[in-house]
């Protein structure tokens, strides 16, 4: 791995390479993603794209512990709410690469803008990116340019919204029932309330 690290540093610059928990992670400018991936495939022998996923950094580092919750709910032992969202952009696309021939792994990360979450598709580099990109589009609304078939994949036909975004409620937005009068299935706004059983807490 040390070899790979030095080679990657020489190629992509020291500040872009992260080594944590024994894993290498490379930050890439989203505009260069295809160029970088081609280079990683052809010169660094990353022949397989193991996984591709979106990440939404909207709520990064936020906890559920409310400052004046002593009257309403969980209260004592409150830690100072950290606001350390160091991610300059809201979305990221993460590529997990595997080199079967060299037995190496690499994670590539490209941030995309919230206003225009668009990134070039890597389907021409690795065929397996096809469905993964569809999934990232479906769940996060990240658009992949030059993808030939960017349809929803996991959610229902006619689904609205992108469910893995942090501002999409866990309970969803609509519920479905069979209406006897109309003799068809109808969608209505959810009738249940969101509920946190264990608060999210960040301890130092």
């Amino acid at each position: 791995m040390a070899d790979l690290k030095t080679q990657l540093m020489a190629e992509f610059g020291k500040q872009n390479l992260l080594d944590a928990f024994g894993e290498l992670s490379l930050n890439v400018d989203s505009a260069d993603i295809v160029k970088t991936c081609l280079k990683l495939r052809d010169s660094f022998f990353f022949d397989t794209l193991i996984d591709l996923c979106g990440v939404d950094y909207l709520a990064y580092g936020q906890s559920d512990w409310d400052a004046d919750a002593s009257s309403s709910g969980f209260s004592r032992g409150r830690e100072i709410q950290s606001d350390e969202n160091t991610h300059e952009q809201r979305f990221a696309v993460v590529y997990q690469l595997l080199s079967v021939s060299k037995n190496q792994r690499l994670r590539v990360k490209a941030y995309v803008d919230e206003a225009q979450p668009i990134i070039q598709s890597v389907t021409n580099v690795w065929k397996s990116a096809n469905w993964y990109e569809r999934e990232a589009f479906d769940l996060f609304g990240i658009l992949f340019e030059n993808h030939t078939d960017l349809r929803r994949i996991l959610t229902d036909y006619g689904f609205k919204g992108h469910p893995l975004r942090k501002d999409f409620p866990l309970i969803g937005e609509v519920e479905m029932r069979y209406d006897e009068d109309l003799a068809r299935v109808v969608y209505e706004p959810v009738s249940i309330e969101p509920n946190i059983s264990v608060p999210r807490v960040i301890r130092k």
């Binding site: 397989t48 990440v55 709520a59 997990q96 079967v100 065929k127 996991l154 807490v201």
Partner: protein, 417 residues
Amino acid sequence: MAEIHNYTLNFGPQHPAAHGVLRLILEIDGEVIKRADPHIGLLHRGTEKLAESKPYNHSIGYMDRLDYVSMMCNEHAFVMAIEKMLEIEVPQRAQYIRVMFDEITRILNHLMWLGTHGLDVGAMSIFLYAFREREKLIDCYEAVSGSRMHATYYRPGGVYRDLPDKMPQYLESDFRTNKELAQMNKNRQGSLLDFIADFTEEFPKSIQQYDDLLTDNRIWKQRLVNIGIVTAKRAKQLGFTGPMLRGSGVAWDLRKKQPYSVYNQLDFDIPVGVTGDSYDRYLVRMEEMRQSNRIIKQCVAWLKDNPGEVMSDDHKVAPPSRVAMKDDMESLIHHFKLFTEGYCLPKGEVYCAIEHPKGEFGIYLISDGANKPYRVKIRAPGFAHLAAMDEMTKGHMLSDVVTIIGTQDIVFGEIDR
């Protein structure tokens, strides 16, 4: 009158050969597949979103429900990712138990695959034989975790409890004579390890039976040989892992190449195919069952000789013993904090993969320092395999689609998540 060439056929989502809720839109010319468009997501439960809203330990149960025929392997990847971030030591005995149950799970998965794959292409009896053996292994699951399917047995820091000293026995009933009862309980007189040891002695004979039934069977070969050929190069392009990749002749197995747990201390071989067709993948999986049996044997021998702890003594992650809680304030606090709030992971991200029976099962975990994961991405092997459905079925006959679904060994719990 215009001549119609291609037409579309809807296959599923309720079709016995679809292995769950797969909907395929097939574009067919006569009986030849021109295009296959799988529609998935009918079993989407939002596991990743749910995991983000819960403390880490609450999500172990969700992992069982991903690939619901290889439950403990899913758990293994998840707890390993947590352990990697927390940098905690797992006791050796727990690691051996995990590996043993991973291999039991592999046999469970492959038996399920063999049975249903056989059923799909017209071999009825193999299904019944495969389930005969599965029953014994499911009993092991039950003995160790109390549940026959969704075990939630692996925990960060080890496993929930040590292996039981006694194997549960069949009870008297009006429907069986005492002689039959004694026969049924014959291999259940000792501990769970004795029961598993007995199984490993018997299982090679069962595999031999399956072998006799299928391997040289004319119909079986007509249905499998040269169906769904994937070359080694394409397999890597398509993100194949596990038996799907090995069937194409690539000797890639995480247990050997990137050994985790105690796999580097065990002796086993990795079977590979030659042509990359469905028949080769069948042979690879059959051999994998034999190898798993070998691993289980070694684990049983080790576990019999080495009693010890099965859970880490880091009480920030693993609960203290009930006895200690009675008179030790520290233990009581640990217990309370662990079960109300859970534990926080350090900031950062890891990707942790294991050799799941179906391929590489990975957990990509991002933590922002909270007691809940910030993002969990589950890398399901079946997802990449099913994505290649179009390429694999193109030019084949309609009946071969069923073979290819079978050979991919897909389970919708993990694909739809």
